[in-house]
């Protein structure tokens, strides 16, 4: 067993840090879009809006039932073959599309469950004092559903950050892609990938800390 090249690892840190912003960007844009889509799907499912409901069920089933990598390849290599106008789709766009759809399918189900989980009698109480459906959603249901869904949604966000590493298979040089390039130049694979792993790890740990704080704040109303 050879010794670890610590100097190489330290030198690699600033280089790889330069690619971290792209990784975070992929994840945050993907998360925001996925959240919007997931809320839309959840409301469609809860209200059972005809046609859209059936479409949503099939959409969720497909994107939960197939691997993310297969979906990314479909978007990046597959779609341009069918529709020549889509050849302009670059790796970054394809990654964001894939992450958005894949994770929105999962998140839609947790948001739906959280909405349905709010005690039905509170809905009746809100209606009985003359609230409209919109006021009921905004002021009573969604604040409580958010609290219930938050831990799961944060888990999906963490999962998504790690899933951005698949973008390197579409030729995107984010944290994983950059590490791969550095490692194949230096042949110091262990050193390179352990630096990348620690970076992912630190980002995820920071998020977990944030999640803990948020949960404490949202749980204030429910402790005895």
């Amino acid at each position: 067993m050879g010794a670890l090249d610590v100097d190489y690892m330290l030198g690699l840190v600033p280089v790889l840090l330069g690619y971290l912003p792209l990784t975070l960007q992929l994840a945050s844009v993907g998360m925001v879009l996925a959240l919007i889509l997931a809320c839309l799907f959840a409301v469609i499912r809860v209200l059972r809006i005809p046609v859209l409901n059936q479409f949503t069920i099939i959409f969720i089933s497909f994107f939960r039932g197939t691997p993310l990598l297969v979906q990314l390849f479909l978007f990046y290599y597959g779609l341009p073959q069918l529709f020549s106008a889509l050849t302009v789709i670059d790796g970054i766009t394809a990654t964001i599309m894939g992450l958005t759809m894949h994770f929105s399918a999962y998140m839609a189900e947790s948001i739906r469950a959280a909405i349905v989980g709010v005690d039905r009698s509170q809905t009746e109480a809100a209606l009985s004092i003359g609230m409209t459906n919109g006021q009921l959603m905004r002021r009573i249901i969604l604040p409580q559903a958010t609290r219930v869904a938050l831990p799961t949604l944060m888990n999906y966000f963490i999962d998504m950050i790690k899933a951005t590493s698949l973008a390197f298979t579409l030729g995107v040089t984010e944290l994983m892609g950059a590490t791969q390039k550095e490692a194949s130049g230096s042949f110091l694979y262990f050193e390179a990938f352990i630096v990348a792993a620690v970076m992912y790890w630190i980002v995820v740990e920071m998020l977990s800390w944030l999640q803990g704080n948020l949960e404490t704040r949202l749980n204030k109303a429910y402790s005895r």
Binding site: E124, S128, I129, G130, Q144, A221, R224
Partner: protein, 248 residues
């Protein structure tokens, strides 16, 4: 004043309310009794459209609604004119006692926040829970939660408060404080329509007792008449059963 004319409710084939005619004067306290499953709660829930009635006419204050021609705006207005107290309290879990009471004033009546909170505090004083203003429902006893539930109904300044078995989910130790609050409201001549199994409350407080069976009003009158001289055999039968298990 509230008036129901020919109120019907069907769930599919099953007829739950079979043409209810009922007039309640301002300040009157009316208690509905009857076997379970005879549509007592459904009657209350039809008055403010928590259940959509099948046919009939509902008048609350100046507003008369034909249930088959009710528009969204009519239903909202009907709900503004009535208030509802639920068996399981149904407080908003994400809001404090104060906010639960103020919510309607803020959101439905669009009062400024300071004014709504001032009114909510006044109600908290009347229900004896001033010190619980900032407490969330999860930290309150069942009795306290139901008192807030009644406070929320009081905030509305509604024509009538509908009580749907307000003490049925309470542990026995909390029943008295809720009943005494309801008696206080009755002394203030708040118009009330109640479904309850508290026969002593009905006997002591109600102006009129209505016995419902099979979705129809079988018999009605002052409590002294219904409890001590019931005319209909079904009323007699029901009272015998219930008085055997409940103290009056």
């Amino acid at each position: 004043m509230i008036e129901l004319k020919g109120l019907r409710k069907q769930f599919g084939e099953a007829v739950v309310l079979d043409g209810i005619d009922l007039t309640i004067k301002k300040g009157e306290i009316v208690v509905i009794i009857g076997p379970s499953g005879t549509g007592k709660s459904t009657l209350l829930r039809c008055v403010n459209f928590l259940e959509q009635p099948t046919a009939g006419e509902i008048t609350v204050g100046d507003l008369t609604v034909d249930v088959n021609r009710a528009r969204k705006a009519d239903i909202l207005e009907l709900r503004r004119q009535t208030a509802f107290v639920f068996q399981n309290y149904a407080l908003f879990a994400n809001k404090t006692a104060l906010e639960n009471i103020a919510e309607r004033l803020l959101v439905v009546d669009r009062w400024p926040k300071a004014k709504a909170h001032e009114r909510a505090r006044e109600i908290l004083r009347r229900i004896g829970l001033e010190d619980k203003a900032d407490a969330y429902p999860a930290s309150m006893s069942g009795g306290q939660q139901q008192r807030v539930g009644i406070g929320r109904a009081m905030a509305a300044g509604a024509e009538v408060i509908l009580f749907d078995e307000p003490t049925s989910s309470l542990d026995p130790e909390w029943v008295d404080e809720v009943l005494s609050l309801m008696k206080q409201l009755a002394r203030e001549r708040q118009t009330m329509l109640l479904v309850t199994h508290e026969m002593s409350f009905a006997r002591d407080v109600a102006d009129r007792v209505i016995f419902i069976d099979g979705g129809r009003i079988v018999e009605q009158g002052p409590p002294s008449e219904i409890f001590y001289h019931p005319r209909d055999p079904r009323t007699r039968d029901f009272l015998q059963k219930i008085l055997a298990t409940h103290q009056v």
